[in-house]
């Protein structure tokens, strides 16, 4: 009983930390895009939080944590009806609180990659689907008793796949389908469209890092477990290692320590360690971080110049690529069953299968959703609207005014 109160308290506090991540996402996305679209991005973030929470309340939670049907989907507790008093050793209310705030994160990732050219209400529609279907479905397989955890033996501690890879791969599909921003490519050569407020973006990254200390350590749901403190430290040092790695590599490749990539580096390290923050050693966390920073940087370049997919904030590389990498790294570096710790290929195989299925399904569902949206309300704003900025036309107001 005492432990339950303790854990309830811990998860409640961790949830509040995670909540602030929405401010972090908002600032990162605003900072790394153009000022003429800043209001639009702000609005998307508010809508994501709100719809995410409500959609998860009405439908999402039920599909994710309702009584399992054939390992595929949850089937009751819609509108939280018939939910128990406690789950996983903490109060049900707090469990829901934590999960609901998580749910919104997944959609937010997509908003960054599709920024500056997507219709407001089209994004809103995607956001509804993401938080009521895509995230809960895959989440059920991973965390809700579905087949990925129960049959495949897939492990995803705090959402390296369930949140980040899923979000990142939805973002990939979204960015492809909405197409690059006007002027991004000229004869196939990418142009830089610099963000308009680096300090705000940096504030966002630090706020996200702060929130991640709820996201990862909170995911144990158990303050009495040593894994909680362990996860806090791995989150700290993986982020640090990735920051330094990205900074050094950008300096080597481009002659200067690049601010955008260094900031993304921090996020890459945080995403990278998410899947295994509780079971990768400190040294392993530094390795995961450093590799995440490098991978992210290479992915940003590859996606931008080779694949020619326009991702203004680097969401695909940060969340998609590093989410996958981090999930696979568990198979190698987990102190409990990882390849390097004598666990053989079993865990690594499970990880490969799990992340493969999750990413594929996420892409498939995102594709269907965007096809539906495109066919009905359309996906992309008018060219002239894009040119003048979404703020004036979609919201009738500029972000910065002095008149």
């Amino acid at each position: 009983m005492d432990t339950m109160i303790l854990n309830t308290m811990w998860v409640l506090i961790a949830s509040v930390f995670v909540f602030l991540m929405h401010a972090g996402f908002a600032m990162v996305e605003v900072g790394f895009t153009q000022s003429k679209n800043a209001v639009n991005i702000i609005m998307k973030n508010f809508v994501t939080v709100s719809i995410g929470v409500l959609g998860y309340y009405v439908v999402g939670y039920a599909l994710m944590y309702g009584t399992d049907v054939s390992g595929l989907i949850g089937s009751d507790q819609f509108v939280l009806m018939g939910s128990p008093e406690s789950v996983a050793g903490i109060s049900f209310d707090v469990f829901f609180f934590f999960q609901a705030i998580f749910a919104a994160t997944c959609a937010t990732i997509v908003s960054g990659a599709m920024a500056e050219r997507t219709k407001f209400f089209s994004y809103v529609a995607f956001c509804v689907v993401a938080t009521t279907v895509i995230y809960p479905l895959i989440g059920h397989w991973i965390w809700g008793g579905g087949f990925l955890s129960s049959v495949v033996g897939f492990r995803d501690f705090a959402g390296g796949t369930a949140v980040h890879a899923v979000g990142g791969f939805c973002a990939l599909i979204g960015a492809i389908m909405v197409g690059p921003r006007n002027g991004k490519y000229k004869n196939g050569v990418p142009r830089a469209i610099p963000g308009h407020n680096i300090p705000l973006g940096a504030l966002g990254v630090l706020i996200l890092w702060f929130g991640w200390f709820g996201f990862n350590p909170g995911s144990t749901l158990d303050i009495t477990s040593p894994a909680t403190a362990h996860a806090a430290v791995t989150t700290l040092i993986s982020g640090a290692a990735a920051t330094i790695a990205a900074m050094i590599l950008s300096n080597v490749k481009y002659g200067k320590p690049d601010a955008g990539l260094t900031l993304n580096g921090a996020l890459a390290g945080l995403v990278g360690i998410t899947a295994g923050a509780n079971q990768i050693s400190f040294a392993g966390a530094i390795l995961v971080g450093a590799v995440s920073g490098v991978l992210m940087l290479l992915a940003v370049e590859y996606i931008d110049t080779k694949l020619r997919i326009d991702d203004p904030v680097g969401a695909i590389s940060v969340h998609g690529v590093c989410g996958v990498f981090g999930t696979l790294a568990v198979g190698v570096l987990s102190m409990d069953g990882g390849l390097l710790y004598g666990g053989g290929m079993t865990l690594l195989t499970a990880q490969i299968i799990g992340v493969g299925i999750s990413a594929t399904v996420a892409m498939g569902l995102a594709f269907l959703t965007f096809v539906g949206i495109k066919a009905t309300i359309g996906l992309r704003v008018e060219e002239s609207e894009e040119l003048h900025g979404l703020d004036g036309i979609e919201h009738g107001i500029a972000a910065y005014m002095d008149l």
């Binding site: 003429k36 006007n182 002027g183 142009r191 002239s384 894009e386 040119l387 003048h388 900025g389 004036g392 009738g396 107001i397 500029a398 008149l403």
Partner: protein
């Protein structure tokens, strides 16, 4: 000061700036000065709301690009700008041309057309 100098002032949409810059470099323009501006023109009458209150004429974000030329004929510059900027939509912008009496390159204290020409 035999060669006349002129200032070409282009009020334009921010998004085409990269293209314009390239095109201007292409015709030998050696420099330009750019300012953020807010413009209202025939786009007026457009009604907006801010917290439920009508805001009547909305100022649109524009760039003001100033280019002082002497060698490059004014007409070439205008035609180049038109080629890049004309979309046929309201809000495309305006170009104004002014006389320049004198110019100084601060670095070398050169005066007149020499101050604007490429020294290379």
């Amino acid at each position: 000061m035999v060669e006349k100098m002129s200032k070409i002032e282009i009020i334009m949409n921010p998004d085409k700036f990269e293209d314009l810059k390239e095109a201007m470099n292409g015709i030998g323009v050696t420099g330009m000065t750019v300012t953020n501006a807010l413009g209202c023109g025939l786009q007026k009458g457009h009604k907006e709301y801010y917290r439920g209150v009508q805001v009547e004429i909305n100022l649109k974000q524009k760039l003001k690009v100033e280019i002082v030329v002497c060698e490059v004929p004014v007409e070439t510059a205008i035609q180049t700008a038109l080629k890049i900027l004309q979309t046929g939509n309201i809000g495309d912008g305006k170009i104004f041309v002014y006389d320049v009496v004198d110019a100084v390159r601060i670095r070398t204290a050169e005066r007149g057309p020499a101050a604007v020409k490429d020294p290379k």
